[in-house]
């Protein structure tokens, strides 16, 4: 092959592949320009820490990016109002349900609570704890202004507030405190010839479920549902086991003839728990002709019982 042939071949190659070569060159130049642009617009490096406030402690899920900043701003506003003792504005950041079910729609109750937590100027930090179905649960750790004191003459004391933020799709985010999540209308009923039980409401908190019950004794006898004479008289049945009542004050549940009583049954169940509730169980319902509450007469009273049975309420 002569040099002339070689030159002709090269020229021919360029002629045949002109378009392809132009496309390749344009793409190459484009890549170089994009790279240069990205180099120049790279975000400034920020100090790396182990603090990741929007990553859930429970399962490492991350709060959606678009909500992170609004949530931070909302909590900051709330703490600022509390520090400034601007009760009304702080109260207005709460959901209506929280105002109603945690503070009985009374700002004085809220004020009392805030005064106990924010007794001096506080600083805070947030940590996402758990996320479920658009509900973002944060632990807000409230502490004295340790930067201002340098921890002089004090031990590090913190107060952990469980703050719940529910994304209802609007821009107006609100929060609820003290772990309160929501209330649900239950409208469940059980009735037989002796007793009528209505479950009217369920209060959901991060750590607890509280059922509101109305129990009516339809008989001329005495209805005993729980007097702690046997174990597991009332419990919440879950596929992870039985949950006993965790009411602050546990009193026997004895209903006299014609009487209607109102109860709040509290059980420990975490909002993000996977356990399924099978029912609210009254395992030892006793319809008695007489009841003294004394151990001495217990057996004879049971021997003369009109009826003894158990109830499982679908809740």
């Amino acid at each position: 092959m002569t040099i002339t042939d070689f030159r002709l071949k090269i020229r021919d190659f360029f002629r045949r592949n002109k378009i392809k070569l132009i496309v390749i060159i344009v793409a190459w130049i484009g890549i170089i320009i994009v790279n240069k642009y990205l180099e120049n617009t790279s975000e400034p490096e920020i100090p790396k820490t182990t603090y990741s406030p929007h990553t859930a402690v429970m399962d490492d899920s991350v709060v959606p990016t678009k909500l992170q900043s609004p949530i931070e701003q909302l909590i900051e506003k709330y703490v600022d109002f509390c520090n400034a003792k601007d009760y009304e504005n702080a109260y207005n950041l709460l959901t209506d349900e929280c105002k109603k079910n945690v503070f009985s729609d009374n700002i004085d109750n809220f004020k009392e609570y805030i005064d106990s937590v924010f007794d001096t100027k506080k600083i805070y930090n947030i940590q996402n704890f758990s996320n479920k179905d658009g509900t973002y649960i944060y632990t807000v750790t409230i502490l004295n202004d340790i930067m201002a004191s340098g921890l002089t003459n004090e031990v590090l004391e913190t107060y952990e507030e469980t703050v719940v933020i529910i994304d209802n799709g609007t821009d107006d985010l609100k929060l609820s405190i003290k772990g309160y999540i929501k209330n649900e209308n239950m409208d469940r009923m059980y009735e037989d010839e002796y007793i009528k039980i209505n479950v009217t409401d369920l209060k959901v908190e991060y750590e607890y479920l509280t059922y509101k019950l109305t129990i009516r004794n339809k008989t001329e006898n005495i209805v005993v549902l729980e007097d702690f004479s046997t174990t597991d008289e009332i419990y919440l049945d879950t596929d992870y086991g039985k949950r006993k009542r965790t009411d602050f004050l546990l009193e026997p549940i004895v209903i006299y003839p014609g009487e209607t009583k109102y109860y709040d049954f509290n059980f420990t169940k975490f909002y993000d728990e996977k356990a399924v509730i099978n029912g609210l169980v009254f395992a030892n319902v006793r319809i008695l002709k007489s009841y003294s509450g004394s151990e001495d007469t217990r057996q004879s009273e049971l021997d003369n019982a009109v009826s003894r049975y158990s109830i499982t309420l679908d809740v």
Binding site: Y124, N125, I146, M147, G150, T152
Partner: protein, 184 residues
């Protein structure tokens, strides 16, 4: 006699002429000589300034290099080591009697509460800390964006000042940009 007078008058005229010429020459030439002297002085001064500026520039560049190096180090560190570095920086200022730089690092509300003036701060640190400090970091705890570091401070040389365990609270805004307070 007449010739003698003529000679004397001629000598006098010539003397006057020489004087005039000398004065005239001086008048013309003097500023030039003077200017040259000023120019030389200016040149010397300029050279001196350039040398000084160059010297200063060399120092600035070296400071910048040092800062760059420190920043690079900080970027490669974990948060724990960065906090230790910040405390070390703060106490180094005190050690080198650069109280202003140390005072400027204090958190404003902390200053307001404990050291309203730099003089108060100086008095405190002079009494509290040994001249040459040995630091032993005992523990570190994070509270959100705040760090609590416990440090045992003792003297590098024999002294009658006892060792001191002190807690420092730090908040890092950015690399090498932090605020500090401590247990008074």
């Amino acid at each position: 006699m007449k010739d003698k007078t003529t000679i004397l008058l001629t000598i006098a005229m010539l003397t006057l002429l020489v004087c005039n010429i000398a004065l005239y020459a001086n008048k013309i030439l003097s500023p030039s000589i003077h200017n040259k002297s000023i120019e030389q002085q200016y040149q010397d001064y300029l050279e001196q300034r350039i040398a000084q500026e160059q010297e200063q520039e060399d120092v600035v560049v070296s400071d910048e290099e040092m800062a760059d190096e420190q920043l690079k180090d900080l970027k490669s560190m974990g948060e724990e080591d960065r906090m230790y570095t910040y405390i070390h920086t703060f106490l180094s200022y005190i050690e080198s009697s650069d109280y202003k730089s140390a005072y400027d690092l204090l958190y404003p509300d902390f200053k307001e509460q404990y050291f309203k003036t730099q003089a108060d701060f100086e008095e405190y640190v002079k009494n509290k800390y040994p001249q040459f400090m040995r630091l032993e970091y005992k523990s570190i705890e994070r509270q959100g964006e705040y760090y609590i570091v416990s440090v045992l401070i003792s003297s590098e040389i024999a002294t009658n000042k006892p060792s001191l365990q002190q807690r420092f609270v730090l908040h890092e805004n950015d690399f090498n940009d932090f605020e500090i307070s401590f247990q008074v």
